[in-house]
Symmetry: C2
Subunit: 368 residues, 2 copies
Amino acid sequence: MTLQLARRMASIKHSEIREILKVTQQPDIISFAGGLPAPELFPVEAIDRVQHLVLQEAGTQALQYTTTEGFAPLRSWIAKRMNSRLGTSFDLDNVLITHGSQQGLDLSGKVFLDPEDVVLCESPTYLAAISAFKAYGCRFIEIPTDADGMDMVVLENTLKSTDNVKLIYVIPTFQNPTGKTWNLQKRQQLAQLASRYNVAVIEDNPYGELRFEGQDLPSVKSFDKTGQVLCTGSFSKIFCPGFRIGWIAGDKELIRKYVLIKQGTDLQCNTVAQMVIAKYLELYNIDDHILKIVALYKKRRDIALQTIQEHFPKNVHYTHPEGGLFTWVELPENVCARDILDLALQSKIAFVPGGSFSRIMKDKIPLG
Amino acid sequence: MTLQLARRMASIKHSEIREILKVTQQPDIISFAGGLPAPELFPVEAIDRVQHLVLQEAGTQALQYTTTEGFAPLRSWIAKRMNSRLGTSFDLDNVLITHGSQQGLDLSGKVFLDPEDVVLCESPTYLAAISAFKAYGCRFIEIPTDADGMDMVVLENTLKSTDNVKLIYVIPTFQNPTGKTWNLQKRQQLAQLASRYNVAVIEDNPYGELRFEGQDLPSVKSFDKTGQVLCTGSFSKIFCPGFRIGWIAGDKELIRKYVLIKQGTDLQCNTVAQMVIAKYLELYNIDDHILKIVALYKKRRDIALQTIQEHFPKNVHYTHPEGGLFTWVELPENVCARDILDLALQSKIAFVPGGSFSRIMKDKIPLG
């Protein structure tokens, strides 16, 4: 006899990226797959020192249970950081610490989604966001997205004509997987449309601090007058991912709902990790550290784009990301990215075929 | 305009225990509420040393992403420990590392439960398990439970007469909140009934290592011939809760489903915490550490029971736990525990009224 699982399990499949990442664990593979931060930049010595200080100064507190909301000094730092960089006006009660920004997506699904509800997202979009929301039985509609962001006419028409749209999920800065960044006008329009059609927006921003060139832009949230927009963030790309510390921030009443749902999900995040990050932020200048990350990633991007330009056929198109970790390459219609991946793997080179990032592309066109 | 939330949110309320725990954060309160481990026993110095070693020896690995399944040496240790103490026959592929055992419950809800499915549980049961499962829209049926475990006749009749029973949730050893322990026969019967009626069992065991007296008993899982039983466990009560490291173990094919669902939920658990615990287990004898915990908790239990016996009215009944953290006090029918809590709080003493632990009791009888 086989146990009967929840209906959602029928649609939960192995992540293609996770499978490719397994291949990349072979030491001789050159991997362009997966957004793994550069480990040589992890501040190992500083963390070692800070961990020791935290345990010396407040060891029993650091190893004990804490509140679901998270460590207050860390929440305050996040609120101030967002206010100064993203144009928000948050204090600590707007911020819930999550187990990486991925948990912010999972909790958003739990707070907002019933089966058959609709999530609107960019095309293509972050694969693991699809996994997170899909577990709540939702449908997805991908909105065409160009170099400046979603097509606002299609977005509004979709909002008008579709019942039960509960979430609009976007990564407006250095998007995963395309590396594209929304312009100012589209950020403003998204906030207005979300308010007009009373839909929540999840503004995912794990890469925003990693700008190589160009001007920082205010967040979608900064244009939100009605509390529709929730922002997720993470220490994974500016500090290290191993601690699994991220956050979700938004309207206080809504964040209280997230706190309630997180209680039953996992009680709270790792206390030590939260206190170590807070202490690091107190003793070190994280901006200096981010400068080092930006310098390395910019160099890598420059080499990547230069190599593409020199060696790829001219009918291959690619994005020019102003920051973050990802570049998106578009192949001619008659070329299948999965076939090229097979060839590349023979030369010990890995990348993620683009079809993985799109529900529509997965079903309809080969890959690109 | 107010955003429309998922239907589940209507039934998600503030946890009464969490509210009482807030009161207990006042420094002059004597608290019998909440299962907070004794912080004076946290191995702060050992953890400090081990953290340093882990960062020195494998800093970049410890701060990087890892697999969803978790750190292999830790999973192997858990499998061996369970085999030697609980009569299981696991290896590392039977074990998924979770964010505390609480996440094992949440993931179980996600893997098994559709709205209106039924969860059978002890009466009373662990409050946060109700919260975890309730988020998936299930109903609960409480099975009468005496000093030796669930009433097996009622359990079988309920299984026979109820559609869509997906989970049986039990804490057979030093139960939360009663401190009771199931006898051998009922453990065996539960495994048989689960197999006969093809229902999954979640055997939650966060306190099993903390035995003050009497003989260890084999787990329900050890009697499971058909792979129906999943076991959750945790380092919170034998090491420290701040790291949020627990596990769920069971049939390999089923654990693969949990791994898939955890990928979309939060990618993985904290890498550093997993490696620190594994290194601690390699360098220190955790059994020596557990002996210290058991000695202190036994002393506390003895004082509690002796005080109850000396000072409580004779028509108040209470359990005699052979281990763990909890004792359950039953008041006469006409006395309301919440009224007594109000009086106790005036004398700066806190406890959790029993009605919190039961959906039925909450609705029907005052409290007890």
